[in-house]
């Protein structure tokens, strides 16, 4: 019993060991897995889900849940593609305008959840529809092409011929986020708000401004994700990031972030992303079907949740 308890405290350690176990397993079971080319590909595959999971984790920790991140990221790909592809604006100007748009989207979510105290899931369900709709209207429902040589570097570039540039983006963003959420005053405060909002009020923690920042943070993460996607697919589409939303919830929860808010940490969520991506990449290399991957990922998630529940009971 005591052993199990100790293990539960070392959540990230266990998950990391699990990821390592998967990694070694795949290396032995597929001849194509443990090769520099595939390993580099693997790190690139982490990026989009990773960025979305950073956004999702922060909102879940604060006691809410930002369901609009997928719609936001998709809308931003449409904006980037429209500005650069259709309108032919210079890259940095397109990026800047889209960044401002992301701030506005985040502020709208923050205003609804923080100032008006609308339930976060409902508020972002609403804005999700709004952002998706905007994306569809602007793109007329089709993929907008975006050919810009310089811009391709973000989602297709390789450093020293091997290391994908988007991996670098994820690593930098993730390190920055871990520091932001677990080491700054703002980070501490959103943990406390998520843990006990009422007590946070009595401790003089400002709900409105801290929550506003949470949703601005998730909008900026969606924006970074949109840059990577737009560059990778050389275009923008109004539903391109939608499937990532629920996956990011799974990865967060898998990584130990409590769905009720206030506990867990981003590092765990990132390991969750690694496990999910490993399974999907490794099984591809073994020639397993896409559908089977879903079954495996679902089973792993359920097993971890059951295991945690068992520990909790003891």
């Amino acid at each position: 019993m005591i052993k199990l308890n100790k293990m539960a405290n070392n959540n990230e350690m266990i998950l990391a060991l699990f990821a390592l176990f998967l990694f070694i397993g795949f290396s032995f079971s597929s001849p194509y897995f443990f090769r520099l080319g595939n390993l580099m590909q693997l790190t690139a595959q982490l990026v989009e889900l990773g960025l979305m999971t950073l956004a999702m984790s922060a909102s879940i920790i604060s006691g809410g849940m930002d369901l609009s991140i997928g719609a936001m990221a998709s809308l931003f790909t449409v904006l980037l593609a429209t500005f650069m592809g259709t309108m032919g604006l210079p890259m940095w100007i397109a990026i800047f305008i889209t960044f401002v748009a992301s701030l506005l989207c985040g502020m709208l979510n923050g205003f609804l959840c923080g100032h008006l105290k609308v339930n976060a899931m409902l508020a972002t369900l609403g804005t999700q529809a709004l952002f998706s709709g905007l994306g569809l209207v602007i793109s007329k429902g089709v993929t907008i092409q975006c050919i810009n040589e310089k811009f391709f570097f973000f989602g297709q570039g390789r450093i020293a011929g091997h290391l994908p540039f988007q991996t670098v983006i994820l690593v930098i963003t993730a390190v920055f986020s871990v520091i932001l959420i677990s080491k700054t005053r703002w980070g501490r405060r959103i943990y406390l708000i998520g843990s006990n909002n009422e007590a946070a009020k009595f401790a003089g923690i400002n709900y409105k401004s801290n929550i506003m920042l949470v949703y601005i943070f998730s909008a900026i993460m969606s924006f970074i994700c949109a840059i990577v996607i737009t560059s990778r697919i050389s275009g923008g589409r109004a539903d391109v990031a939608d499937p990532l939303v629920l996956q990011s919830v799974s990865a967060s929860v898998f990584g130990g972030i409590a769905i009720t808010g206030g506990s867990g940490n981003i590092l765990g969520a990132m390991i969750g992303v690694i496990v999910f991506t490993l399974v999907s990449n490794g099984m591809n290399m073994m020639g397993a079907s896409q559908f089977l991957q879903q079954v495996i990922i679902g089973s792993i998630l359920l097993l971890v949740l059951m295991f945690r529940q068992l520990i909790k009971r003891q």
């Binding site: 019993m1 005591i2 520091i179 080491k183 700054t184 005053r185 980070g187 501490r188 405060r189 943990y191 406390l192 843990s195 006990n196 009422e198 007590a199 946070a200 009020k201 009595f202 401790a203 003089g204 923690i205 400002n206 409590a258 206030g262 506990s263």
Partner: protein
């Protein structure tokens, strides 16, 4: 007195090597009130959980219900055998009506027969002599009335044993009187009651027998007449302990450190003015709902008063939010420790550094774990918080120690004014005394302390001046040496105007 309906013998319980109950024996007869008292952590709750079938006792423990030995008591079995536990935070359904809550166990059929349900509920309430609106939503009625609903439910379910865990913690004086009456009718039906409380006067008011637990041992069990206040306390804490009065010894000071002038916040309170001189503790009492906590919250910036001025050390301050209040040197230890104070799942250190987090940063402006631990350790030493582990999850500490940690949170802010709202509710006698000493020390060091409490002996022992509120007005102001319990109660119940005495 009836025959024994519940008996435990040789009851032990060990959690990962720590013994919390040690060969305890206890019995309950039909139609008696058996009070179970002891400090926090004495093992009362564990014992109740075992009787309720929620926790398993160690090997060799014996539990007899209606004379039959129960070897595998589960929660469902316990309920089926007629044992009802009314927990501190009531386990009713706030979205259902009063009638639905009372008859919840009766709904064995798929179809709910509302007429029948209301008839049964009304019948039960009649036998208790209580009037309640059957169609009211449970969440809309007072906690006192909810407690009555819980009892009615137990009667409807034909319970043989009712366990009440601190039933009066959230009740007003009038509601407590009501509860006493109902306990009497419940007793007359032949139901046995186990009554757990920290408030000794209550225990003496209702109990036929008293059992005392200390550190997991049953140290005494006898008829209530055989005990008196002092004896009971000695048995509970195992040492001589008196409810010491701790009035100001620094002598009078004319220097006003905190003042509120004509503060009104309708509909909660109006025209409230008071002053606190240096070295003074101001006691604020009155019934629950008299506007005491609202007054505190208005001073702390959580509510917007329509009018009123606040002065600290003679200087007028403007407070729009709790952040403002904190920056001006006002601290507020709220009433409900669990809902308004604690961050459960977080460490003691994190719960202490909450408000002063800006002082716990390193050179880069990031939170310094080291500084947080240092602060926690300093407070652990100062207030003798147990266990002395800054990293312990605050959930796993006893109520008294949690309260000390929350005190530390505010002490760290070096407040000029500290408002403490029911600071000793639900904590044991020993910790109470330590908190009283702490309040006195603070006052001595020049902090204006406002003590809000329903516990009159506490107010009379600690406060230098007493304000009594009733329905939002201050009806009585007196210096503590002139105050008597009777007078304060009388004013709280029916005072009007403002009497100074």
């Amino acid at each position: 007195m009836g025959n024994v309906i519940l008996e435990v013998k040789n009851l032990s319980k060990t959690y990962s090597g720590i013994t919390v109950l040690n060969s305890v024996s206890f019995n309950l007869r039909a139609g008696e009130v058996h009070a179970l008292v002891g400090e926090n952590g004495a093992g009362k709750s564990t014992m109740i959980k075992i009787i309720a079938g929620v926790e398993k006792p160690d090997e060799g423990s014996e539990i007899y219900i209606n004379g039959k030995r129960e070897t595998r008591l589960t929660a469902a079995r316990s309920i089926q055998l007629g044992i009802t536990v009314i927990y501190q935070d009531i386990s009713l359904f706030p979205n259902l009506t009063v009638a639905e809550n009372i008859c919840i166990e009766k709904n064995k059929l798929f179809i709910v027969n509302r007429k029948e349900m209301k008839r049964i509920a009304q019948e039960t309430l009649d036998t208790m002599g209580v009037k309640l609106d059957l169609d009211a939503k449970l969440g809309d009625i007072s906690i006192g009335k909810q407690q009555l609903v819980a009892i009615a439910r137990a009667i409807t379910f034909k319970s043989k044993v009712i366990v009440m865990d601190e039933p009066t913690a959230a009740l007003s004086k009038a509601e407590v009187e009501m509860l006493y009456k109902i306990i009497k009718t419940v007793k007359d039906k032949g139901i046995g009651i186990i009554y757990i409380s920290h408030k000794l006067d209550e225990v003496f008011a209702v109990a036929d027998r008293i059992s005392i637990l200390r550190d997991g041992y049953m140290v005494a069990c006898d008829d209530a007449e055989k005990f008196d206040n002092q004896k009971l306390i000695n048995l509970m804490v195992g040492r001589e302990l008196r409810f010491v009065s701790m009035q100001n010894e620094e002598g009078e000071s004319e220097e006003t450190v905190f003042e509120v002038r004509n503060m009104t916040c309708e509909p909660y309170f109006r025209n409230v003015s008071f002053k606190i001189n240096k070295y003074e503790i101001l006691g604020l009492t009155g019934l629950v709902g008299a506007g005491r906590s609202e007054l505190a919250q208005a001073i702390f910036g959580m509510m917007k008063p329509q009018s009123g001025e606040i002065f600290i050390n003679g200087k007028k301050v403007y407070i729009k939010s709790p952040e403002d209040a904190i920056s001006k040197g006002i601290g507020y230890l709220p009433e409900d420790r669990r809902k308004q104070g604690l961050f459960q799942g977080h460490s003691m250190a994190c719960n202490i550094s909450t408000v002063t987090i800006s002082r716990h940063l390193n050179k880069l402006g990031l939170i310094s774990k080291k500084k947080e631990l240092q602060t926690a350790l300093a407070n652990i030493n100062k207030l003798s918080i147990r266990p002395n582990l800054p990293t312990i999850n605050i959930e796993n500490m006893s109520g008294g120690n949690q309260q000390k940690a929350l005190f530390s949170r505010w002490l760290e802010t070096n407040p000029k004014v500290l408002i403490v709202d029911e600071p000793t509710s639900g904590i044991d006698v020993g910790a109470k005394l330590e908190i009283h000493k702490l309040l006195r020390q603070l006052a001595k060091s020049g902090v204006a302390v406002i003590l809000i409490s329903s516990d009159l002996p506490e107010i009379l022992a600690i406060a230098d001046r007493i304000l009594v509120m009733r329905k939002g007005d201050i009806v009585y102001e007196t210096v503590a040496v002139n105050a008597t319990q009777e007078k304060v109660i009388e004013k709280g119940l029916m005072g009007s105007g403002r009497e100074i005495g």
